[in-house]
Assembly symmetry: C2
Homo-oligomer: 295 residues x 2
DNA sequence: AGGAGACATAGATGATGTCTATGATTAAAA
DNA sequence: TTTTAATCATAGACATCATCTATGTCTCCT
């Protein structure tokens, strides 16, 4: 259906004319001249075929019909004003939300301080954390349920854009039970003589270490598989075996001495963590700011 | 505060872009070309400093921020659409209200059929009847509580415009108790020998009849004063005296013979009823239609 | 009376909204 | 793969129409 009034701009003029009770004042409020306002109101009146104001020597007053119109237009204009305020708030990061996907351990051990700093700078932004495996996080992202994902690289997917953010170093650690290994440097072969604890889920870290052993003609088969990084650490501390973990995730334990790193005669490949976003999709302000902060 | 977006027209384009999910379709809905819509959306995005859509090969989809904006703008646009519908209804007299002021008796005995016909033609228009004396009705009108008043003329008030509508003839009537007067023609002096019943309130009718007697050097003092035209009629029927009433208001009783008119040797002045409106104030559509109907 | 304020009207002007034409990109069809 | 047909973006020309200046009319107040 075609509306009678083609130009919503006129409603803004009408709104101010009512609010100020004067075409002259409305003109000032809108940085226009009085004849412009006069003309605008006339257009509305002609469009509806109904007078909206009666003119008095002191200004204008709504007619009955004008009053009906105003009851709608007032709400409408207030909503637009609210919308503009809200958009300004979004832009200033006084408001908004940021939805991040990632693994439990990354959140807990690495992203926490970043999120804290982010939240303290922008307390108005609501944070939503979705944890899952890398494939799950990719799905979240493609379904639009998160703004960005923090995952181990490399990710090869034409729909995604991944930006390397920081490096983590995986390593083997053990507890007091294997104190004899503290000063030794082991070969991979030697290592296999000890019980190995690995992460059970299909994580990139597990894939890379398995491949590393294979490249030396060795087969890495874990004696224990556990479902979380916390358990990986805990099992190593209790002497159930040698855990393969991200060094940065056990920095507390290494410092306290409850765990120590096993030196190897080969260097383990570092793992790169990247921030993953949808290619061809503009980031929300909140998300851009986060990426900026991570650096 | 100066808003970022100077042109509310852009929101209409935005609204349709969201609703259709396509700039091309929005252009069709608005009878514009696709580049115009493209340009409009760009203006909004530049104005807010935030992308509102991400562009896909099948159309456009809201960003997070765009979605926030839409939640406000949708309501706003719906309100405007409702406003336009309502105004059309007002103009077509499918909606609206008509507030009439007048005396009880005028409503009951004269305006009722007119109001009935008006209401049956325009059932969507709500009728509000405010009864009061002529001065009260004038006050209602000046306070904007009624659209028009139906009162006895003349009214002299520079703020008011009175349009003569029809004539009424006041007369003296009596019931069976005074049957002896049925065929006589009385002088005013003779009339005063009978008990007279007058309307108690300061009505124009009472003023004119009092003045008439005075112009003949006579004093008209009622034996009974009553507060309504109905009582005036009822008292006369029961023989309590001779009532001064508007002939048109007792046409039923005159026809039925329960009352008869007293012939006088002087002619009583007719009274003119006029429709009174505010000068310099446009009438509502509903009110104009009413006046048109009354003729 | 005269002045100051209101809104209305007329005509000129220029900003800007709109158009046509074209390009870039993607997805589906051949 | 190549083609075709969508999408939106961009550039530049054009003309609409919103806005301005100048003036008129009316009312109220001094």
């Amino acid at each position: 259906m075609m509306s009678m009034i083609k130009n919503y701009e006129l409603y803004k003029v009408f709104y101010w004319a009512v609010k100020t009770g004067s075409l002259t004042q409305a003109a000032k409020a809108l940085y226009l001249t009085q004849p412009s306002v006069s003309h605008a109101i006339k257009q509305l009146e002609d469009g509806f075929g109904v007078p909206l104001f009666f003119r008095t020597p002191k200004g204008v007053e709504l007619t009955q019909e004008g009053n009906v119109l105003y009851s709608y237009i007032e709400q409408s204009m207030i909503l637009i004003a609210l919308a503009e305020e809200k958009m300004a708030a979004l832009k200033n990061l006084d408001s908004g939300e940021l939805r991040i996907g990632g693994s439990d351990s990354l959140f807990k051990h690495y992203l926490l301080p970043i999120l804290e700093s982010y939240h303290s700078r922008h307390p108005g932004i609501k944070l939503h954390l979705h944890h899952g495996t890398t494939p799950e996080v990719i799905t979240f992202l493609k379904e639009g349920r998160i703004d960005l994902g923090v995952v181990r690289m490399p990710i090869v997917d034409p729909q995604l854009k991944v930006r390397e953010s920081f490096q983590l170093q995986d390593c083997f650690v053990a507890g007091a039970r294997y104190a004899e290994l503290k000063d030794k440097t082991l070969s991979l072969e030697q290592l296999l003589q000890y019980p190995v604890i690995l992460f059970s889920r299909n994580s990139r870290a597990r894939m890379t270490i398995t491949e590393l052993f294979q490249s030396y003609g060795l087969t890495l088969k874990p004696d224990i598989e556990v479902g979380s990084v916390d358990l990986l650490i805990e099992f190593a501390r209790r002497g159930l075996g040698i855990s393969y973990v991200t060094r940065e995730f056990v920095s507390n334990e290494l410092e306290a001495g409850s765990l120590f790193e096993i030196r190897l005669d080969v260097s383990l490949p570092p793992s790169h963590v990247g921030i993953m976003t949808m290619r061809n999709m503009p980031l929300s302000i909140a998300a851009s700011r986060f990426i900026e902060l991570v650096g």
